[in-house]
Each structure stands twice: as C-alpha cells, then as structure tokens.
Assembly symmetry: D3
Homo-oligomer: 295 residues x 6
C-alpha cells in the first residue's frame, strides 16, 4: 500500500505546478539526444501531451538532428566554407527545409497524434510565422578586418507573427515548429533552433522557455555533475563567462536565455534531454532539474 501512497504523493506534489502554469505558454526547444533515442523521444512526447492535458500550452520548436547531414551526404552535397564558416547554398537550404519541415517536423506531429495528443506541424512560412532576412557574419578578411560576409541562406529573425500559434494552441493543438524563416520574396532561411525558440517565446509572452540539451545544465566543474548550478541570475552571467564556467556551446544557449528574459519571458531553463522525462520533472516537481536562468 506504501506504493499507492507514494503515487498519490507525487500526483499531489504536481498540484501547485499545474495551478501555477494553467493557461500559460511553455516554449520547448527540442533537440539533441532526445531526438535520436526512441525511448527518450517517446518520453518527451508524453511529457508534452501531459502538459497540454493539464491546461498548459506547450509549443515545440525542434532542430534537425543528424537527419539533415544524412540527406546531404546521400545527395553528395559537400559543404563549402568561407574562412572556416560553413556556407548554406541554395541546394543545401533546399535539403535543410525538406528534411526539417517535411520529415522531422511531421514525424513529431505523427508521434503526438499517435499517443493521443493533437498536433499541427508548422514552419516559419505558415501564417508568416517566422519572417527572416539574410544574416551576414563578421568574418576576418585578408587584411584582418572583420567584414560582414554572405554565408548563404542563414537567417536572422526579423519578426514573429504569433497569431497562428496562439489560435492553434487555444483550440487544443500542440504547435510543432521547424525553424525555417521566410524572406520578403518567399525565400527560405535556416534559423538557429535555440534562437527561433527564444524569439517565439518572447512573441508569445511565454512563461517558460526550456532548452533540451545534452548536458546536465551549467556545471561549476565540468567533470563533476554534483557541481550543477541549479539557478542563476542574468547578473551572474558575465562573471561565469569570465571564469570559464559558461563556455563553448553553452555561451549561445545562455545568451538565448538572457535575451528571452529581457524580452519578457518568465523563466528559462537549460535541462538534460538525455534524462527521460526531464521536461516533466522540471515542470511538475519540487526540485526542478538542470539550470534555471532568471532575471
């Protein structure tokens, strides 16, 4: 009978979180290991469906996982580089869009539907959702000066038109979004998925932005999982970067959180997608999980 009591206890523990987030929007950047491993994939889907069922509005923004590279390989498309920066030429962009919006996106949708949720797959073209323009990276030229350089169809977000996402969410659907932006002439741009999630969270005035990653969160000592920093504030970031605690691939993720917070998002989280149901644990339990970045 103890087991039963524990069950009940866990359900009751979720109560204040359900109450707190009821009717609120949570934007989830879905990527990394959790998109590859079947068991993890299913766990994420179940978590998202459960959130929807208890009255939260989850919005999923996904990356492309290894599938894009696989397809580029099969087509024999080789990447071209400018000063070490990969260039997304038109053929590559075509493949990126097809894989993201036509395969990965629709697979996630089908999985949600199969487990009892209602989902709609969108890209940035649908309803003018993600309006973008070409990004110019600053690249050192021969003279050593950093000049804006065309790296192809990689885009910066110009405007988010969140109406369609809101309407779908309000009518019981889970919007699943491929981070393809659309330019003025209808051309496609590849948008970084973290960035797209962050911008969308701002436009939707989301209460939470959750980035599913392949690390435990921010560790004070990268080799020691027990050194996890479970919560930090925007003001703490510069010092942590200085000290090298936030470094490498974690820098853009933290930057994305900071920008989202400054744009009005309530809380941001960098959590470990390799742990099954990390999303659920983050949202519905007392302890939370990973690193929370707050204003």
């Amino acid at each position: 009978m103890l087991k039963a009591l524990e069950k009940a206890g866990i359900l009751v523990e979720a109560l204040p979180y359900i109450k707190k987030f009821s009717g609120k929007t949570v934007v989830i950047k879905y990527g990394g290991a959790a998109m590859v491993n079947d068991q993890l994939k299913e766990a994420v889907i179940m978590d998202v469906i459960l959130m929807k069922l208890v009255g939260i509005h989850p919005v999923v923004v996904h990356g492309g996982g290894p599938e894009i590279n696989g397809m580029l390989d099969r087509l024999g498309l080789k990447s071209h580089f400018i000063q070490g920066l990969r260039v997304t030429d038109e053929s590559t962009m075509e493949v990126v869009e097809m894989v993201l919006a036509g395969k990965v996106n629709k697979e996630i949708v089908a999985l949600i539907q199969r487990f009892g949720g209602k989902a709609v797959g969108l890209c940035g073209k649908d309803g003018g959702l993600i309006q973008a323009k070409k990004r110019f990276e600053l690249v050192k030229n021969e003279g050593g000066a950093r000049v804006p350089t065309d790296i192809g169809f990689v885009g910066d977000v110009v405007k988010i038109e969140p109406g369609l996402v809101r309407e779908l969410a309000d009518r019981g659907y889970i919007p699943v979004i491929a981070p393809i932006g659309v330019g003025e002439k209808g051309e496609s741009y590849n948008i970084n998925a973290d960035t797209a999630a962050g911008e969308l969270a701002q436009a939707l005035k989301a209460d939470k932005l959750v980035l599913l990653t392949d690390v435990e969160g921010i560790l004070r000592d990268r080799k020691d999982p027990s050194s996890l920093i479970s919560s930090l504030r925007i003001d703490d970031v510069p010092a942590l970067v200085e000290e090298g605690v936030i470094s490498g691939g974690m820098i853009p993720k933290v930057a994305c959180c900071v920008e989202a917070l400054q744009g009005g998002v309530g809380q941001t989280h960098i959590i470990d997608g390799r742990l099954p149901h990390s999303l659920l644990l983050e949202v519905f339990t007392d302890k939370g999980i990973g690193t929370m970045v707050l204003k």
Copy 2:
C-alpha cells in the same frame, strides 16, 4: 535519479485518465473516517482540487459525521423512536440542518479555499437544488401489517434541479453539497447522503459516482482483505446478496450504485476512505481501488 524517473512514470501513468475524464463530472459522497481524521480530510481535499485542476468536475456531497449527534447531545435533544425507527422531529431537523449546512459544509469549503481551490457550499434549498417530500417508512403495526408511518422530517428526493451546480462547476468552482432537501412550503428534509449523491449523479449525467466508505470495498470473505471483489456487474448483485457477501450497511450502498447506473451514470465505486488519497488512486492509477460496480 531513479526516484525522479519513478515520479515521471507515475505522472505519465495518470495521462490516459486525465484525458478520459477531462470535462467529465465525478460525484463524490464524502463521509465516514475521511471526515474525522485531519490527515485523511486534507488528503481528500487535495484529491478533489487536483481533479478540478486537470479539467475534471468533482462535485462533493457530504454526510454529517459525528457532529450532528454531538450537537443534539449538547442541546439535550433525545431521539424518539417508533417501532425502533428514529423519528426526526422539528427540533432535531433544525439542528441537523444547522450542523450540516452551517458548519460541516462551510468547513469543507474553507478547507478547499485554503489549499488553493475555489468552492461554494450549497444545500438543497439553494437554487431549488434538492426538492423533497416527506418519506413514509413501512412499519409493522400491532396487527403485524406494514403501514406507512410518519418518521418526521426525513425526505425522499422528488426532483433535482442541477442548473446551479453545473453553472458553478463550469466557472471553476467545486460545489460542496449538504444533503438537505426542501419541500413545497420551504420546509427542510434530511436526505440520506448516499441517496442524494446518487440522485445528483444521475441529474448531472455524471461519469462516475464514488462512495467513500470505511471498508475496503466488497469482500468475498469479510475477514480477508485480500478477497476484495474489484469489479462486479449489476447482474451479479442478487446472487451476492443471496450469499451474504453483500449484507448489512453495504446493501443500501450497492443499491445506490445500481440505481445510479440505471439512471445513466457511467461507473460507480465503493472505496476505502480510510486509505489516504484513495480517491486520487481510484481516478488516476491503473489499478483502481475498492469495488467498481458497472452496468
């Protein structure tokens, strides 16, 4: 980390039940030990609030517990009997109503509000909710014939007017109902709480009627808790009564379930209110609890 995974598993296990009962009405007869013990009381309240939060419409019908007798004693009101049947005279009825509608009912309401739910306490007079008339019990007279006998202000339900309960439930409130009926002239009647819950469940076209009792459910061998009959059908009832498996105080409870099922209620449950969170376990877990009576 195992602990976390288990937590998630239990939340995910609840998913199909949340989906199944979302927007549905569950009428709960709240009585017995679960109204006396503070810890049990709190557990029932938490269960009801959680049900409401995830989109179910719980409706609570409560008994009076030991408080009525306590107040009758303090007032020196002694019960009068006719052929062994207790008579509810006007003074007694006055006390019953005050204690039920003015004390027990409002205490439950205050408890729900305190733990974060929204509740409204009603009796059968509010919005004409429970319309009743005097019940005449068949009592053997001196000649041995069973004649209808006036046993005072004990009532039979004439009509349920469920509008108010529905409106409150739809607007986010948990209706808490004292089983006081109202007669044509505005007089009060004491209604059996199980009966009131069953009638209300029918009028609301509830999906579930749950009776919180002080037994494990229906036991094949009353001394052996492991002999619990976890599910039975209406058709099985006569034989079980014949065999004495259903006997004593369990007979009216089962009768109440049968009537509710025949009146259109989806499922009925006799569960053990002495077990903390038995309500939650019944609704949100795979195993269920107690005895389910089905059509």
Copy 3:
C-alpha cells in the same frame, strides 16, 4: 375604472427608476423587525424578487436576528465580558456560524425560491468572499490606557472577493449572504452585518446600499416622525453628530454609509424595515423613503 388608472399610474411612475437601475447592483442589509415578522419578511422577499425581475441585481446581506441568542441560551452558553465588552469565544462562534449560515441564510433562500425567485445562500467562506482577521478593540486597562484587547472571534474585513457574487447575479440568482468572515487558516469570524454589506457594496461597485432598520430614518427630533431628514450629505454628518441628532446605534449606521460612499457606492439609504415594502417604495417611487445619505 379610476382604480385601474391609478394602478397604471403607479406602474408608469416606476418606469424611470427601472430604467435608471437596470443592470445596476443594489446591496441590501436585511435585519431587525423585517426578519421577525412573517408579513414583513414576505414583503421584503417580494420586493427583492421584483427588483431582480426588472433587471436590477439585488444582493442581500442579513443579520442573525434573535435566533442566535435563542440557540446560545438553549446550549447554556453564557457570554463572557472584558471590561463590558462581550467576548465571542470559540463555542459561541460555532453557534453564530451555524445559525447564520445554516439556518437564517437558508430560510431566506428557501423563501425566495418558494415565491418564484432564484437564490443562492453564501457565507464569507464560499469562494473566499469575505476574508477577515481578528479585531482588537481598544479597551481601557487598569492604568486607564486604551490597549488593543482580544475579544475573540470578531473580525474586521481584510478583503472582499466579489467574483462569485457577480457571477451568480449575472446568471439570474439573488445572492444571500451571511456575514461570516474567514481567516487565513480557515477560521471563522463574526462580522458586523452593516459593515459586511457596506464593504460588499464597495467591492461590487454597487449603485445603492440600503440598510433596513427599525427606525423611520434620521429624525431631527427623535419623538417626532414628521421631523425626518430625507436627505443629507457626508459634509452634514459631523454637525448632526455634534447636535446629537445622529447618536447611539445610528452612529455606526451613518458611518457605514459614509464609508461606502467614499468607497464609490452611488447612494446609501437608511430606511424603515417595519413598513411593509419600504424597499420597493424606496427604489421605485418618486418620494423615496427614510434618509438618503449622499456624497
């Protein structure tokens, strides 16, 4: 035929008042003789129903009448005094609540229902309607200093949560409210009914607050009913208190009106509940009745 014409004239006279108050809220403090005498009781109920029918939203806040003392006597509960101030101990509060919320309140509800209206009986616990805290009266100690003194479960209003009352009123119900407040831990407090009515009128942004009393209104000469002051302004009050025209039990009633007016209530009225249909006459006729206090 003259009779008929007069009838019509009276109905037509009501026309501008119906127009003026259509959709507006009128809070009525119901107490005194009008709660004791059966004919007066019925007249008040009819008046309230008529107001509702023509599109006004009446909200009734009632006192306890002599019933509380009757029950306290029957239970042999004797009042305890501190420096002449009656103390409401826990046993007394229990009785006050039961009688107010479980008996008087539900009787009024049953009467409205019986005469064709729709009513719901509430106390301050329902929907967190009247949130209160312990009141400390300033009492002279032995040294003659006035110190805050615990007089038991007598409360001051901390906050009114008017949502439930509005929702019920909008859906065609007449809310009937027992002035029991609820503390942070769910404990009950006895609230002065005039005060509760005044606070509720403010929270509901009521257009009218009407206090049914056992006097004609404010009389310049207490022995001469013809000296009725039919209208006065807040600014006139201090002088009238000075002169002794407003004195005794009239002081808190006028204070209640003044506070309500300062809190945004349109008009306040002190009228004679001993006169049948005084409420109706106040609202629907040219002459009004009793004393109106205006800003």
Copy 4:
C-alpha cells in the same frame, strides 16, 4: 402611509406577469382613438416602454388614423369605387405609403425615443419584412356571379420575414411597423393593419396579440358595458356570430384573433384603446381588460 402600501401592492401584483412574459414577444396593433388623442397616445407609448424595460419584447404595428384621408383630401385625390368597393390606385397608394411609413410611423418612433425608449420604424420593405401580392376581392358582376376583381394596390400577405424584427428586439429596440407590403417587383401594397399584426405575431411565435380598438371588447348586449365577455374560446365564436353578438367590424377582428391562435400565438386580446394605459392593465394586472380570445 396607506397610499404607499397600495403603491407597493400594485407593483407586487405585477410581479407574476413580469415573470410570465419575460423574454416573450407581444404584438400590439395600435390604432383608433389611441392614435388621435395626445394623452392616450402618450399612455400607449409609456406602456410599451415599460413592457420593454421589464424584459418583454413589444412589437407595434400601427394603422394610419385619419391622416391618410387628410392628405388624400389635400391632394384632391378622390376615391374610385367598383361595386361599392374602394379602389386603391397608384396615386392613392403612393400617399398611403408616404403617410404611413414617412409620417405616422416616424412620429411614433420619435415619441418612444423622447420618453426614453429605443425604437426603429420599419415598413414591410425593410429586410423584406412583409412580402405581399395583389388581393382580388370577390365582387358580384352583372350576372350576379362573384368574380375576383382587381381593387388596386391592396395586398394579401404572402410571407413574413421576421429576422430583422427579432434582431432589433433582441438588441433593445422596439420595432414599430407600418403595414405596407412589398411585391415581387418592389411595388407597394396596402395591408390591413390587424391582418399584418396577426401574421407578424404568428411569424414571431408571439405569446400575445393585443388589438387596441375603440370598443370595450365584445359585449353580449352592445348597449350595456357591464355585459362584457371577458374571455371566450375559438369554439364559442361561431355561435356568437350566429347570435349577432359578434358582428360588423368586430367580425374581422375576431377572425384575426382566431387565425393568430391557430397559427400558434398564445393569447389574443381585443381591448379598449380609449381607456388610458389599457395595454398596461391588460398585461400587468390580475383582472385583465377587454375580451381575451383563447384556443
């Protein structure tokens, strides 16, 4: 004080009628003396506004009074007769329409607006309200046979399109209707106002049709007002016609009532428009007034 009590009594007497007719539609044929005398006119307007204010939906269909003939005279238009039947030629019809829809109709509207109501004046052309076709009267020819004869722009109702009237009534307006019908080519037809009122009452599924006339109602002895038949059933009509009790101009009025009743109208009334506020007295008092014809 007695006066006040009487006032209240009359208001309370209206209560069940307000309740009964709340949200119901009452079609009023407004004509005769009540359209000529200024005091009577004002009384009718007040009655209609009061009905609207208490939640009834009055719809006014008016006749033309003496104004049409006045204008025909001023224009020197002389009526042309066929076998004693007046013919409405095109010039006459033009005047009828202008006076009815452009003068009488708008005057009533302006009066309602001036006394605080909201009104919209319509004729049968607005929203296709009254669709009509030419009526052919059966007229004896030289040979004595009754043949259908063209009497000009007099019309029979082909179809009522009640949508516009309902929409206006639901939004708080009192529709005021001139009985001008519209033919397939947009041509105008003069429709008998009683007939138009009766047809409209059927199309609107009205609860009451009230014909304001210049007699007390149906009198058993035309010379004795005390011989008023206050209520009769459809089945009684043939005998009363036979006996001559219903005769002359009363025959088409009663026929109009009978047809309305058969078309689903709840009650029909022939009342005395010469009595001020007869409409109000009919609707809101116990005694009613005039003759009620029931199914």
Copy 5:
C-alpha cells in the same frame, strides 16, 4: 479566350481593394442624376450590394431628388422666402419628411432587397440617429447687419447616435438613411444630405465618404473634362477657392469633405454619379474616378 483573361484580370485587379476595405465602412451620399435615371439607379444599387458582399459596410445617405418639389407642387405649397432664403415651414417640412422617409427611402430599400441585398430604411428619428436643432442663417437685415434668422425647420446636427447603424451593418444589412433630424421635442428638421453623410461618416469612423454628384469632379477648367484634378489635399483647398476652381455648389461639397477628414474619415471622394457604376470603379479599380480629397 482573350475576353476571359481580361475578365479574370479585372477581378484580380479588385483584390487589393477588397482586402483593403474588408470590414471597413464607406458612407455614400446618394443623390442627383443617379437617383432619377433608372439604369443609373440600378447600377448604384448593384455597386452597393457588391460592396456588402465582399465584406465592406456601405451606408447610404440619400437626398430627395425632384420628388419633394413634385409633391409640394401637387399640394399647392408655395415656398416663402426671407431675403432670398427659402423658409421650410411646418407644412413643407411635413411633406419633405413624408417624401424622404416614406417614399424615396423605402424605394431604395425595396430595390436593394429585390436585387438580393438586405436593407433597412432609417431616418434620423430611428434610434435617435440624427439629433438636430434649428439652424439660424445669418441674414442681412435692413441695416445691413447679418443677424441670425429663423428659416423654419432646417436643422444643424447636434449629435449622431451611430449604434443602430453599426448594429444593422454588422448583421448584414445595408442601412439606407433619409437625412431627417429630430429635435428635443421630437420635431423634425430637414438636414442637408451631404452634411448628414459627412457627420455620419465621422461618427462611424468611416474609411471613405463618397459624394455622388452630377459633375466629373473638380475640374481645373470647367469646360475641359480632361482637366480633372484627381487628387488634392486639404491644404490645397483655400488656393483653389481663391482661384475660382472650387466655386458655386462645389464649395459646400468640398467643405463637407474637409470637415469629414478633420473628423477622422480616411478618404473623401467627389465622383460623377452620371457615369454608371462610378461607385464600383472608384472603390475597386486602380484608376479611381472623380476627385479624391485627402488630409
């Protein structure tokens, strides 16, 4: 096949205009030749219906055409003049109102209905639409001073109550309005139709005000239609008046446009009603037509 392509091209050309004006209000002053010639009349009606069908809200304000003078003549009513200004005495006003509101207005309504639209005819009395007061013209007295002079029932707009027009437009009707104003005592006033249209356009926050006239628009050289000024700004007006380009009857029309623009109307147009479908061409084609006056 070329023909078909052209057809399609014209429909496609209308696309941006449909999009631009969808849900917007266009007030049309309907007068002059377009009210006399049957073919022009029909073309205007078709244009208005088409506008409604594609989601625009046209509101028609009409003049009286030659019909008023015709009726005045038939009645032998001769105009009385004060210093050259025609006086609208009570008899004249009666005729004006009957003809405008009872004949011209309802004919337009019938025509719209006949061609498949839904229309309601209103005058300024309906719903208190156009509230007016007597206008006093400044007239030179014998001493040569300009003194305010009573010229009878000619009115200035005091207030527009646009609620009824909006409600009808929202429910699919085309409001057709006779420019009769109503005074405080319910008396009628003749309002200049251009002025009424302009005031209504302001009160409705219309996007367009279109005046149908009997000229091509504003011509730089009145004898040369090719000298049409297709667009001008408020600031250009004084100079054009100075130069005599805007003169005579065009002055009040331009003044009406200027006032409407200053009152918040988006665009105003003076177009040639003698050209069939000029309204349609103005709204739905690239070239527009007539003279547009802009802020």
Copy 6:
C-alpha cells in the same frame, strides 16, 4: 470610358456567384502545368486569395509535380516494379513526403502569404487529417489470377478528420494540403492527390470540387477543342466511357467526381489549368469553363 463600364460589368457579373458561394467550401486539386509555369502558378494563387477575400473557403490539395522525380533521380533511387506496377519502397516514400510536405507545400504557402493571403501548410499527419492504410493492388500472378499485391507505401483513405481544416478556414487561413496519409503506427502513405481532394471535399461537405488538369475538359472528339462537353450528369458517365469519350487518365478523374457527388459534394469540375485564372473564371463568371459533372 467604355473600358471602365466593362470593368464594372464584369465585377457586377460576379455578384451572384459571390452571393451563392459566400461561406461555402471549395476544394481545389492543384496540379499539372499550373504548378510548373510561374505565371500560371501566380494566377492560381491570386484566384484562391480572391475567393477567400469575398467570403468563400478555398481548400487547396496539391500534387507533387516533377519535383519528386527530380529528387529521386538526384538520390539515385530507382523504381522497382511488380508486374508493371511501380512499388513505393520506404526510401522512396521518405523522399515523396519530404518533397511534398517540406518543399512543394511550403512553397505554395509562402506564395499565398507573399501575395497577401494567410495560409497554413498541412499534410495528412497534422491533426490526424488523412488516416490511411496500405493499398493492395490486384495484380495478375503467374497463374493469371488477380491477387492483392503489396506495392509499398501507397495508401487508401480510411478516415478524414476535417476539424483542423475547418478551424483554420474559419479563422481566415487558406489550408494547403499535401496528400500524405498517416497509418496506425504513424507511418506515411502516398495518397493520390485527386482521391485525397475528393475525400476531403466529402468530409468537409464542400459545395464544389475543382480538379485543375492539363486538358480542356472532356472533349467529345479529342482533337477538337470545340467539342467540349460543358456539363454532364453521373448517369451519362457509363455510356461516355463505353464510347471511349472518357478514357485513359480521364477515367479516374471522372470516377473521383462521381464518388464526391455521391458523397454529398454539390458540383464537381474538371477544368483546364493551362488557361490562366481558369479557377476564377469557373467560379465567378456566367459561362463557367471546362466540364462540370453533376448529380
């Protein structure tokens, strides 16, 4: 000025069709030349946007054009055949889905958005829109018997879930649908686009199904465009097939129309997509275009 009049005439000619189809659903199968030629593509998009603007609900179902084969070639995927029937293996299906749902679909969406419409691209997985199962073609085996044969991921429609399409259409979006079906386990199936359009039209209770093809319609003499059969009934079909007038690729198209008509669609059309704006001409002009098949 003649030109202007013609313009107006064409707009007015569209009026009855706008009226007729306002609020109705038109399903368009978009394929063939109209998907390849840029000018035709743009014309179709403009037509669809215009339909939406005037209140019609167009729903676009598209084919894949030559793009699928292009991508298959680039990937070196060769088709495998069974008895002459092409087999869609898993790799091929993956490409079909990516190209249809990720490239062609989103390009159409982007085009609609760019020209001012609002569009959402869906495939059969979104909201469970097209539920399918594997199709088994009857193929002659060696013994000559026709046996059901697995031809890979080609599907038959099991169920259409039209909710999402309706919700989007009601909220102003043009749904653009790639004919990918989803199986019970979330697997993808290639569905014939004509069939998908026909099934969707039935599920949506569409008023029109329009198939854009690369022929003029059904020609009695295939070499003579003037022999176009502009309208035929279901009953005429068998004889026309017998005579060879309906033959080859036209047979499944006509079958699709017949099935749609039997499933409740109002009208079906086979029109020439090679003609610019054929869609517009079919819907908004008197002559229609291509062949209409009616019940």
